[in-house]
Symmetry: C2
Subunit: 351 residues, 2 copies
């Protein structure tokens, strides 16, 4: 191997919740691998959570950051580097860095604060890697124009973790299946609803299944986004824009949640060797027009997702050149999204 | 969308068989998409088959090339541009181009002529996209050093089509799962043996099943490479080097073909809701040591590949960060490998 220069990438991370914290943990555990294999040093120079920020041009101490987050405090409380009340947006505007990692909570109403943060970063020439879905669902076409997605020479925008966590749907659909004419897309894109439908199919009540999902840390205290189909629909909108290259928005998706699924529907599907899935679907109608839906769907034994497990997600891409590609992911914990973000970073800063 | 300059990539293609010809057909059918979406014009300036070559610095007429191949003649017979007896290696040495597409028949004995062709291209600074397995199975470590795989600044080497045709195993394992600590790998990587085992499991004889596979154009007249496991093993060696980053060679793989599978084994597996697969397997032993094998393996109903269809291939990657990712491909025809090569080209010549 020839000698290679180490590249130091100074990054900002906005959002230190169930994505941001595991991301920092991965960074710490894989720092030597990043250095040895990719000659890459990732240096946090600014971090923001809901209580404020921490800033250090020479790099923040990740162990200290993780300790303060474990104690459920804001990074703004870190001695010397803490900036109480400083927002993620202010961080992007005021701190010089080579990369933005955006992991604020998803907001499907107006995409904030992620949308403003991402826009500011791209306009300042900073590459952006997103985990949050809001900015993509509500601002995809604008962000594409501000980035390399539509404007060569503009900074890169990547979002592998936003549509499928550790399941690489964007890279499969947009990258590997490039040049293929895509046919019907089907996907189970939400953990909570799949676990609930599986358990209910085994005889559990909705309430008992929901308690299990919450105990596992999969479902939110308010599971409405999951069970009513909006989390699934938002991921479908991202795939529509990024993979099918159609400027779809949330209101283009016909959404039916899983609350109305009956015992009889579950039993009938199961008796046929299939199951009821909360299925995201894209159906090409020709001339770049697609029909988008999310709804409980009984699939029979011959369907590629017929045997999806309670803890699995999956998707089926059809292409005239590539045949049918089915991807199924059984993820272990919340690290998948952070790992997907780091994959994007490696793509932005290749050897 | 901002205006973008068209880039013309002048390429050489060595091998005009069941990969090279579909590749040219795809290029022709997707030329306007390549231009509109990627601003890329792919211009064939040199093509070689077993009878010789055709050369034109201003670009060969793809329609004329496809016509002469359909008539089962060599491109060397093309008026004006044909060069009877000119080898693929001579093409790479004598014709100036921006890219090599290598699709000569796989040769697991010495990797030729693909290995020499690829080495020459890389040493001349030419990016190379390979479909043929031979050069990778027999010369991976050398080619990695001659290319960007191990030597930043050297020309790119890509081979998406070599290990899984339209099933993106290399890009999933090496790209999407980057930074993950990989666990056991399992894959069904050969169409013919999967079709044969499926049909035999349904009661057909080996001979009848083989006739079907040959009629479908899946199996070679001499199916030894398929049924004796060497095609599977060669793909496993490529994944070992490219994805697990271990310098494995063919003799590191314990290979048992499928000829010895008994009716009883097939029936027992089927009764348990599983099947017998010709399974490629990589098992990490710690400290970068792996155990590699290809052998008929009975999997039960809980295995991710338990329901693999007769016309499907599939693989299971396990990663500490990404969980279990299962990819299953049902391919339609031989276009998948050509499509995978073009995906590599897009990666080498990004916007």
């Amino acid at each position: 191997m020839s000698p290679r220069a180490v590249r130091t990438v100074r990054f900002l991370l906005t959002g230190l919740g169930n994505v941001g914290v595991p991301l920092l943990e991965i960074l710490r555990s894989r720092a030597s691998l990043l250095m040895e294999r990719y000659r890459l040093e990732l240096l946090p120079v600014g971090l923001a959570d809901s209580g404020g920020a921490a800033v250090s041009p020479t790099g923040l101490d990740v162990a200290a950051v993780l300790a303060v987050k474990r104690a459920r405090h804001s990074v703004a409380s870190l001695p010397g580097v803490g900036r109480p009340g400083m927002s993620g947006r202010a961080l992007v505007r005021e701190v010089k860095a080579d990369l933005l990692l955006e992991a604020t909570p998803t907001n499907l109403k107006d995409g904030q604060p992620g949308l403003d943060i991402t826009r500011d970063a791209l306009m300042r020439g900073m590459p952006a890697v997103l985990a949050s879905k809001g900015p993509l669902v509500l601002g995809f076409q604008e962000l594409a124009r501000l980035s390399d997605l539509e404007s060569p020479g503009r900074p890169p925008l990547r979002f592998s973790g936003a549509a499928g966590a550790a399941m690489p749907l964007v890279s499969l659909g947009r990258g590997d299946l490039a040049l293929g004419k895509l046919g019907r897309f089907e996907g189970v894109l939400n953990n909570t609803s799949q676990l609930l439908l599986s358990r209910m199919s085994q005889g559990q009540s909705y309430d008992a299944a929901l308690k299990e999902a919450q105990a596992l840390g999969i479902a939110e205290a308010d599971p409405a986004l999951d069970v009513d189909g909006w989390d699934t629909a938002s991921k479908l909108v991202i795939l529509a824009n990024a993979v099918m290259r159609v400027p779809a928005v949330l209101s283009d998706v016909a959404v039916t949640g899983m609350r109305g699924v009956t015992r009889e529907q579950l039993d009938t599907a199961r008796a046929k060797g299939g199951q009821v899935l909360l299925l995201a679907r894209g159906e090409p109608l020709g001339e770049e027009r697609w029909e988008w839906s999310v709804r409980p769907t009984a699939v029979d034994a011959s369907h590629p997702l017929a045997r999806l497990g309670p803890m699995e997600m999956g998707a089926v891409f059809r292409s005239d050149l590539h045949g049918v590609n089915t991807l199924i992911n059984a993820e272990q914990g919340a690290r998948g999204t952070g790992a997907a973000m780091l994959k994007d970073v490696l793509e932005i800063f290749p050897d």
